[in-house]
């Protein structure tokens, strides 16, 4: 701090507190709604203080769910989301680290072409090629299956770039020493490069886990069987009960449960999260 200005210090905290209130308030409201009984939403305004039905509502959603809306219990959807998010993160990291290794540590014909093919994936998000991608997955018989949810999303240019950047900073001497000691390429990769990449892998995992968890459009397209619904897409089905007002307390319990895992990951692994975010986007 350069000079002491009490008013400015006060203003600073005021701004931050207002910011936090803006950020937290919608979620607070959802949480409060999730702790009330169904009848509390008839009065014309949402309740603003928590009610007594917390365990009841969450228990009901986790174990039974609203079957009239065609959605399975939340525990199944949460499990599907977990499987999808973890597989996408692991898959992206695995195929990216291998291809970055090939691009940095070997010279071979068509190396540049391979790099460009990977680069192009940056420019083709699912949203812009919806119908043909759906058709490919349908032709391969991967609708309503975990591979169909996961594999089309695991190509990643950003992860490949991050590993490439990192590998370029690994000193050449390490590899020369390894070769003098008689280590082949795969042994060098396993025993030297992988341990060195540990922090990068962890940071990337946090970002990619969130990426996988929040996917909406893709699960919406490839799953029609409720056994494969993920929680983020299932929520929409709960909220969109035709013509009737949704059962707010149950919908909001589902909303809170759906955001809890990735939000906890961000809060508990904040350092890795920030590192992953700032480095993958550079």
């Amino acid at each position: 701090m350069i000079e002491n200005r009490p008013f400015l210090a006060f203003l600073t905290h005021l701004v931050l507190i207002i910011g936090v209130v803006i950020v937290v308030f919608p979620v607070y409201l959802a949480f409060v709604a999730s702790t009330h009984g169904s009848g509390d939403f008839m009065r014309g305004l949402v309740p603003l203080l928590p009610g007594p039905h917390l365990l009841e509502n969450y228990g009901f959603m986790l174990n039974e769910g609203i079957s009239t809306a065609g959605a399975p219990p939340l525990s199944i959807m949460l499990l599907n989301s977990l499987v999808m998010a973890i597989s996408i993160a692991v898959g992206k990291i695995a195929i990216s680290i291998l291809s970055a290794y090939a691009i940095v540590f070997f010279k071979f014909p068509f190396r540049l072409l391979a790099f460009w093919i990977i680069f192009i994936t940056l420019m083709l998000p699912v949203e812009v090629r919806i119908i043909p991608t759906f058709k490919v997955v349908a032709d391969l018989g991967m609708l309503n299956s975990y591979p169909g949810l996961i594999i089309p999303l695991i190509a990643s240019a950003t992860a490949t770039f991050l590993f490439r950047q990192f590998f370029l900073t690994v000193p050449d001497e390490l590899m020369e020493a390894a070769r003098v000691d008689g280590a082949g390429p795969m042994k060098f990769f396993r025993d030297i490069l992988l341990p060195l990449s540990r922090t990068n892998i962890a940071a990337l995992f946090v970002i990619l886990f969130i990426y996988g968890w929040v996917q909406y459009l893709w699960p919406l397209l490839v799953t029609t069987d409720s056994r494969y619904y993920t929680v983020v897409m299932g929520i929409k089905r709960l909220a969109a009960t035709a013509d009737a007002e949704p059962q707010w307390n149950f919908v909001m319990a589902a909303v809170i449960l759906a955001m809890l895992p990735p939000v906890l990951v961000v809060i508990l692994m904040q350092r890795l999260f920030v590192k992953g975010l700032v480095e993958t986007e550079k």
Binding site: P26, E127, L277
Partner: protein, 294 residues
């Protein structure tokens, strides 16, 4: 392109290492993109029996369709508003966090977590707050004399999706602005303070210009976010309505293709979207290269 000076001599191994990623990319990215390109030049008869090659007919129809042109301008308004609103709020918060010493970790934690909330969940949260029958926002607005109903009024609906989309993006911009602010040399600010510049003058003449690389980068990323990552948000709040008022391009591709089953038109729209992403990515990368020299 850069590679190591010393390399492994293997000839087959590098291809084996590349196969998984290239296979996924070719099957699920390149091939569908080429398909979209192909069907954007074709027209299918109503029964799907045969397709005819129609050159740029789909594109021509697209750009004389008032719905599509309207969607283009709505997307522009939406992307611009989200970018400006969320970046401004994030910058104010980042500058504030950068000024506090002991509590900045706490504030940062409380501000960054919306990054992890799915856009569709964000949509539901704000849809709940602005629900015309029981929401708290319309209740307060009515008390202030504003009659809010985003189910009928297109402007209200647009404001709702802009606020919701900005809310989610504040955390992301905030983190990048904080990182940018921390790299501003303290000595420059101290020198300016000695010369008698107050906090606001120091911000506008020193800090803000030094942040311009971060600001520019975030501009592009936010445009990209508003145009492509907000599908779930729109789907959960307004579903493009009322009367197309919030039907942004990426939502229209989906409704025309999957619900309207108009493959030719939807493919042409996909191709237009691809061109937009490619342009944004190209700008971003050119700029990143420049910054490396700088």
């Amino acid at each position: 392109m850069q590679a190591k000076r010393t390399i492994f001599p293997n000839k087959i191994l590098p291809y084996m290492l590349l196969v998984p990623q290239l296979a996924v990319t070719l099957i699920f990215f390149i091939w569908p993109a080429l398909q979209a390109l192909k069907s954007s030049f074709e027209r299918e008869d109503p029964f799907g029996f045969h397709t005819t090659f129609v050159w740029f007919e789909n594109y021509r129809r697209l750009f004389i369709d008032p719905n599509y042109v309207g969607s283009l301008s709505k997307t522009a308004v939406f992307a611009f508003s989200v970018t400006v609103l969320s970046m401004t709020l994030a910058l104010v918060l980042a500058v504030a966090v950068n000024r506090v010493l002991r509590t900045n970790r706490l504030y940062t934690t409380l501000l960054v977590w919306p990054y992890a909330v799915a856009p569709v969940v964000v949509g539901i949260l704000w849809w709940f707050m602005f629900n015309p029958t029981i929401g708290i926002a319309p209740y307060l607005l009515r008390a202030a004399g504003v009659d809010w109903n985003h189910r009928i009024d297109g402007t209200d609906a647009m404001i709702l999706v802009i606020i919701a989309a900005s809310w989610k993006q504040i955390s992301y911009n905030f983190l990048f602005f904080v990182a940018g602010l921390q790299s501003v040399p303290q000595s420059l600010i101290e020198a300016a303070a000695i010369d008698g510049a107050g906090p606001f003058k120091r911000f506008w003449t020193i800090v803000f210009p030094l942040l311009s690389p971060t600001t520019f980068f975030l501009l592009i990323v936010n445009m990209n976010y508003a145009m492509f990552d907000t599908f779930g948000l729109i789907d959960a709040t307004t579903q493009g309505g009322p009367a197309q008022a919030t039907n942004i391009l990426v939502y229209k591709v989906y409704t025309d293709g999957f619900i309207g089953l108009n493959i030719g038109s939807s493919s042409a729209q996909s191709v237009v979207l691809m061109i937009i992403v490619i342009a944004l990515t190209a700008i971003q990368f050119r700029y990143v290269e420049r910054r490396v020299q700088y």
